[in-house]
Amino acid sequence: MFSRSIRLLFIILVAAVPVLAGDDVPAWLQQVAGVPNPTYQKDVPGVVLLKDQHVTVSSDGRVTTITTYALRVLLREGREYAVAREAYESDAGKVKEMHAWLIRPSGPAKRYSKDAVLDLIEDPNDIYNESRFKMIDGSKDADTGATFGYQTTTEERSIFSQDIWSFQSRLPALVSRYTLTLPQGWHASSVTFNHPNIEPSVSGSTYTWELRDLPPIAPEPSSPRVSSLAPRLAVSYFPPGDTKPLPLQTFANWIEVSHWLTGLHDPQAVPDEALTVKARQLTVDAKTELEKIRAIGRYVQSVRYISIDIGVSRGGGMRPHSAAQVFAKSYGDCKDKANLMRSMLKAINITAYPVAIFSGDPTYVREEWASPNQFNHCIIAIRVNDESQAATVINHPKLGRLLIFDPTDDDTPTGDLPEHEQGSFALIIAGDDGSLVRMPVTPPEANGFTRQIEASLTEDGSLTASIQEDAVGKSAVSSRSEFRHASPAEYLNLIEGWITSGATAAKVSKVEPRDNSNDGRFDLKVEFTAPSYGQLMQNRLLVFKPALVSRREILFLTEAKRAHPIVLHSRAFSEIAHVKLPAGFEVDELPDAVKLETAFGLYKTSYEVKNGALIFTRSLAQRAMTIPADQYDEVRKFYERIRAAEQAPVVLVKK
């Protein structure tokens, strides 16, 4: 409600950041500032000259981190990267020091004063969150050719004996280094992701991992996330086996992670009387187990998403609030919702388990590093009997049939799973029975829509049309999301925009959406008229496009070259359009039928004239696949040919 005011206050204050000049630039920065610019493609906005993090763990569990960073701005757009930023948890850590400098290609160097340090909340949308960060914004000062550097020292106490380090973001990096210094007798192990294994150089109890000359990671449409492309290090460290001096959590395998998380979740999943009554009330008319799960799933989806994170560094970010409390207030975050659903199911004797997952990148979580820090989201796995059939049921070796469901996503019903979670590794939190499992992937036919069009074309080219769309799975989720999150006026506008983008000046006379989330469907009926849809030429030819409306989900692969793989999602659609032709005309020319068949998809069109009507069909089945960059041309041509096929006109001639 007041988010605009908050934004305004931020802008006013950030714009007024004071900066003081000075020239005491440290030697390390002066040294890297002398490094000549490597040659990159002309759109690379900046290069990281040095990215260095030195973590020192003391025997009392205190972790001190010194971060040293230098960036050269190559284009004006690179200015936005000239920002020092250090995160901390206000309950257990602090940024002790933060210094930043700017070396201009000409003119005086500058040291940023303490007054330039901003201390900001990490997520202003959360009601409360202890995650904060400090920053110095050099983006207003750093122009092309400038070198911006900073050094920070943070101190924290964490219960985790693990760390994650990404060697780069999208920018290229010349030197990227992570150093870990442990107390005598401790040892560390590491796993490298998105890169061949990096062996550390070890000196005493100090380990150093380093990469050099990392190329830029250009943003591309339908590309894997940068978190699945940039080299990443996962480190675990352990005190000597015979000591247990600290409240540090170490994890040797996924069962240990499951065990630890179970300890956080289980005590919170105790149904109280009010919650039990509600669970019974919700399921009173449900005849099957799946119907009961759906009823409770729908209720929990309607609980508002509101996040209050306290004690994050002590695992508070992973411990749900008690189910009774969340039920009473009717709000919570993802783990609160999963926990509430679990408790409500428990109240009606259905067993469920929380599931830790990473939302946003299905390839982020890796099997080879057992850690709760790989997750950022929580969903639920419900033990179901053989009669409960759904595309998102998996077979767990110890727990049996599990229905996977995300109660935070209020547009994806029970029996389906958000696309960005499908296929990813997730941890079933079930004590010693827990394990890391692969999430289900739904097939194209479970994510498509069918469209039927009945249309009539008059001699002057005017069109009257009725469209019936029936969507399931991901297609239904997209349509449902549009429908639910827009006001009726906005939704009408959206539909009108879709229709008029293909039929200028169309008048939409009917829009009837029907959301049937119980069985994962969304249906839409639209009627419209479009004057002069067909173009009459010299009163002899009448030309029109039989693909009356666009498909709304179009893949734009327009660049000539590609660096990264192409990630395709599971999709299907089919359309049949009957267009009644005007009596005074006959077909002079029809486009050729098209059939495109590849490993990743099948597209077909057909044209037939029967009983004075054109019957036009088109269909696409696209498989969920990640296609190597060297096959980009084939993918791009596939979609270009689809686009061309859907622009092809039909020519009628006067009899």
């Binding site: 204050l13 009108e496 030819l541």
Partner: protein, 663 residues
Amino acid sequence: MMFPPSFSLPRAVLLCLTIALFSSIALAGDDWKPIDPADLASKTPVVEKDADAEALFWEVRVDDGEADELIFTNYVRVKVFTERGKESQSKIDLPYRGSYRIKDIAARTVKADGTIVELKKDDVFERTLLKMNGVKVKAKSFAMPAVEPGAIVEYRWREIRGGRSANYVQLQFQRDIPVRNLTYLVRPYSGPYANGMSYRPFHMPNGLKFEKVKDGFYRAQLSNVAAFHEEPRMPPEDEVRSWILLYYTRDQKIAPDKYWSDLGKGIYENSKDEMKVNDDVRKKAAEIVGDASTADEKLKRIYEFCHVQIKNYVRDESLTPDEKAKFKANKSPADTLKRGIGTGGNIDSLFAALSTAAGFEAHLAISGNRQNIFLDRDFTNPYFLDSSFIAVKVNDKWQFLSPAEYYTPYGMLRWLEEGQNALIISKEPEWVMTPMSSADRSVQKSVGKFRLLEDGTLEGEVRIEYTGQLAMDKKYYNDDDSPQQREDTLRAMIKERMSTAELTNVKIENVTDPAKPFTYDYHIRVSGYAQRTGKRLFLQPAFFEHGVAPLFSGSDRRQAVYFHYPWREEEEVTIALPEGYALDSPDAPAPFSIGATGQYKPSIGITKDGKDLIFKRSFFFCGGDAIIFPLNSYGQLKLVFDRINKEDNHTITLKQNTASASN
């Protein structure tokens, strides 16, 4: 409008009243106004039929009774109708900073069955959003408990603004949700040295007044207020939203003409030294004017000197941001001349001084800004006067110029200052309307020379020039970007219309040139531009409109339509046709006129040898300074732009001749 005259009460009485008010608030801590059972049972909104939530009442007491603080006491009751309403009304953030405080928060949810869930004290979180250099921006935040469709949520809080008064406080009468009863209670300051409080309603029902109630408060109330909805191309928000500006003034009864005359004279006295002509200025003026013979030529030379030769310190790249922050304005035109750099005000002042030295009458002119609101001279307050430029009399007519605006060509102002009332600051101030530049001053001229291949690919050279306001918009958008980013912007713009387009040899010129047209030059290849069937090719000759969606897609509209300025588009497309193809039943898109407001004029021709198709398109709009189209004309306006889109999409057919087809 004025509040009735205030009475200066003795401080002791005032203190008693204040205590009484505070006591009543304190006692009201646990008291909520009774809820009408009908409201609890209601299932549909009253004010707007599709509203997701509706405020049953929204009451704000603005208490400026104390000299050193301003207190807002808010009480809001909202009925939630839908899941969307539940989402939007669930979370409350009350930000504050500095000497502001948020106190006495109370909230509760009353479910449709009458169950009450109170907000607990522990559920109100104080967050420090930002800390910097001793300044903190904080927020008190809470989530309303147990909200569901059908429930009523209500909450109250007090905001205390230390050290502030109600002068220039805006009272919003239109909210993001519809409101059945919206009430403001205002208590003006009435202590020592008090000016009278006045208020200015904007887009409020006629006759709405603050009525005196008790304890020194005045009340204004509106019923059934629709929510405010933003729309593309709508007039400035302050111009269409319902709101009231509070302000203190001594000049409550002065007629507008006298008010502005006095104000203008006052500004003149204070600013005349800033335009002072001395010998240096006189000498420079003579040097600049040189052999110019006409008034226009002289003025143009002075303008160009100030525009190009005097650096605006904001644009001076040799100055670091720190140096810019410390930059001190010059005290006189002679200083600006000497330093060759100045603030925008310094540059305009130098221009006025040089013009005066060259024999012109030149003055500072101040006006409103059409980006924010349309200036109304009847409102006797300088609040909205936030633009300034120079008025020069040429042949007994005022001409308005601002060389400080780097991209503004001679003879124009930036669009937001055109078509506005401007007060010329002189010994005898006067109001003059700044002219609106005609469509011919802001032209997009596009030329394309292409060849069409048999497979439907179109390939060729493009040049687009922008002048006037169009050029200014382009320059301001691009000037801070790197050359690479400018190219990327262009590519994205083209690919949005034609996804298969490939651009090479891109040249973007005059991006930071103050006077020359902004230009794009590029080579383009668009595969599948024309659609091919067995024996025909279908071609849209209006290349520059290919893939452009109709300007207005929605059938409904809530606000008037606002174009910033008149403009013209001139296009010429030459397409060399593929060998062996000829026009099949060709016809041309139809021209049409929109009265004095605009004209759409396309034409298609073919060269004598039949090899080249030539398409021309001329369009202008907002002629006769028609830049605002009232809501009731939306249907007609949409028809016009739909028709333009249809004609732009006109397709011609090329047919393969028999001889070629057999090859």
